[in-house]
């Protein structure tokens, strides 16, 4: 199989997910090749780095590719793939990859499956992904299509070995004027508390039910000497400021204690807190994916457990 991985450069660095895509490519290529595509301006150093893990690296370089633009990405990738005919194209399931991959697929008339965590090519093509926010897995067969496009979940294909390939200039330039223009990058908001530096985090999710109940989490955080953070639904509801959001689109935290209250554990959240030293989760739903990453779990009502815990902590402190 000829497997192509589209590398990702972010803020002047090669994103580690690019190597993960090549690890997957190498594991499924069989007698074929694992090839990388790198797009941008002044990208030779990234191409050299990628070549360690790929049989071949295609460099697509142009001043107009300095900033990511999905239309230009689709345009140059379509030009390359029209000539080189990949069997499989792997793209990161990132803010970028998940945006341009479906558009690339329509241009290639190719099947596309997003956010995959497994890909089996031993007998046809079978991709595995989660549905219902992590509660179920589904194996999906690709029925037809000369090329198939997949966006790949980060952090899944970390294992791989070096290959040592060559870098080739693809000789491709953008052929269109995009209808979307890049303006600027917007920096994250800075708040009073930096949750990424906290040792103890009391984190609340949808299960907290209402803004007024945040107080309960604050009492517990006070008693423990920690800070309050939250998952996406809590931030979306405006119950906590954006800089308290834990997850891929918020902050990554590694406290000594992460107490997850009423958090179901969507992948985007788990990626932001899974490296905490101790994770304790309280949730009504025994099937909540958060129990898959927690060391200790309590299946129960946070409105009963938390006050009891606060009382006991206050007793100890006198």
């Amino acid at each position: 199989m000829r497997v192509f991985a589209v590398a990702e450069i972010k803020f002047g660095e090669l994103d580690p997910v690019s190597i993960e895509l090549l690890n997957l490519a190498n594991s499924i290529k069989g007698d074929g090749t694992a090839e990388a595509v790198v797009i941008g301006n002044n990208i030779s150093n990234y191409a050299e780095e990628l070549a360690k893990y790929a049989d071949k690296v295609w460099k697509i370089e142009d001043a107009s590719l300095e900033n990511y633009n999905p239309e230009l990405y689709v345009d140059v990738l379509f030009q390359l793939f029209s000539k080189e005919k990949p069997d499989i194209v792997l793209v990161a399931n990132s803010s970028r990859g998940s945006e341009f991959a479906p558009a690339l697929a329509t241009k290639l008339n190719a099947p596309v499956i997003t956010d995959i965590v497994g890909l089996d090519t031993s007998n046809g093509i079978k991709a595995t992904r989660y549905i219902f926010q992590g509660k179920l897995l589904v194996d999906i067969l690709v029925k037809d299509g000369e090329t198939s496009v997949f966006t790949v979940r980060q952090g899944v294909f970390k294992e791989g070995s070096e290959v040592g390939g060559e870098v080739v200039d693809a000789g491709i330039k953008p052929s269109i004027t995009p209808k979307r223009e890049f303006s600027q990058i917007i920096e994250p908001e800075v708040g009073e508390v930096d949750i990424s530096q906290a040792d103890i985090i009391v984190s609340v999710g949808r299960g907290i039910e209402d803004a007024s109940n945040i107080e309960l989490a604050e009492e517990l955080a006070d008693a423990l000497g920690g800070v309050v953070a939250g998952s996406r639904p809590v931030i979306d509801s405006g119950w906590l400021p954006k800089d308290r959001q834990v997850g891929i689109s918020g902050k990554t935290v590694k406290p000594k204690l992460y107490l997850a209250l009423g958090i179901s554990g969507a992948f985007q959240h788990i990626m932001g807190m899974k490296d905490s030293e101790l994770i304790i989760a309280v949730n009504k739903d025994p099937e909540a994916p958060i129990f898959g990453v927690a060391q200790y779990g309590i299946v129960g009502d946070i409105f009963e457990i938390v006050p009891a815990l606060v009382d006991k902590l206050r007793e100890i402190k006198g």
């Binding site: 999905p70 803010s95 998940s98 945006e99 600027q184 898959g292």
Partner: protein, 246 residues
């Protein structure tokens, strides 16, 4: 400003989810259906844009979607198009069905939720943009219309955002939290009854994918702490003490 919004009638991932006996589908008993959470934000955003710039909001739903379409009309959408096909999980088929259903519509903007809360594919929006060959952006957290163009902010990783300007017509998928969706009022529900809800039949062909198997993931499970709230609190305190956390 004519806006088309895509709204899915989707199962709540917090409801009780079981695999059907055939091992290839999800048992609908026990599932709670409602408007897809991300689409609720898209509908709200469309209505706000219309309130500011005038025009019409047309909501499009694929499948058994009548309750959700009525809800959107009650929120303030002007009319609804129901596409009565069941394409299941193949997003290509869904996007094709929508493309066909809106072929007679004039629009400046198409809005959709970033993804559906059940299958989490995040595909239909961008596939549709690709099929229509119009500019697009995903995970949008701010939309401003200016001089025949739209200025947007989209969400990146780590709290960063990216500002872009797109020419119209364009398709945007919105991230949750972009606004505060309004409640459906009794007046809204009454008014919605007189609004147009049209069924459009489309041809659905092929599709690229087929479900092989649906199953429960094997997970490492946390050690469970059981007992009354007081007992649980005692045990937790012991764990925290043992670890030197209190």
């Amino acid at each position: 400003m004519n806006i088309i919004v895509l709204a899915k009638h989707a199962a709540d991932p917090e409801s009780e989810i079981r695999v059907s006996q055939d091992g290839k589908s999800v048992d609908e008993r026990g599932l709670v259906f409602d408007i897809n959470d991300w689409d609720r934000y898209a509908v709200e955003e469309a209505i706000r844009l219309k309130e500011e710039h005038g025009g019409e909001v047309v909501v499009v739903g694929v499948g058994q979607t009548e309750d959700t379409l009525r809800k959107c009309l009650a929120m303030g959408a002007d009319r609804a198009i129901k596409v009565p096909v069941e394409p299941g999980m193949d997003s290509y088929q869904t996007a094709m069905a929508v493309k066909e259903a809106i072929s007679g519509e004039k629009f400046d903007l198409i809005l959709a939720g970033l993804m559906s809360q059940d299958y989490n594919n995040a595909l239909v929006g961008v596939l549709l943009a690709g099929m229509l060959d119009i500019p697009f952006a995903t995970a949008v957290t701010s939309i401003k219309v200016e001089d025949g163009r739209v200025r947007i902010i989209r969400e990146l990783e780590g709290g960063f955002g990216e500002e872009n300007v797109l020419s119209l017509p364009a398709l945007l998928t919105v991230q949750s939290g972009i606004n505060e969706p309004r409640y459906v009022s009794i007046m809204g529900i009454k008014r919605a009854k007189s609004k147009e809800l049209k069924e459009v039949s489309v041809s659905v062909e092929g599709g690229y994918t087929e479900i092989d198997r649906i199953y429960t993931p094997p997970v490492k499970k946390a050690e469970l702490i059981e007992g009354s709230p007081e007992e649980v609190a005692e045990k937790l305190i012991q764990i925290l003490k043992d670890r030197g956390l209190i």
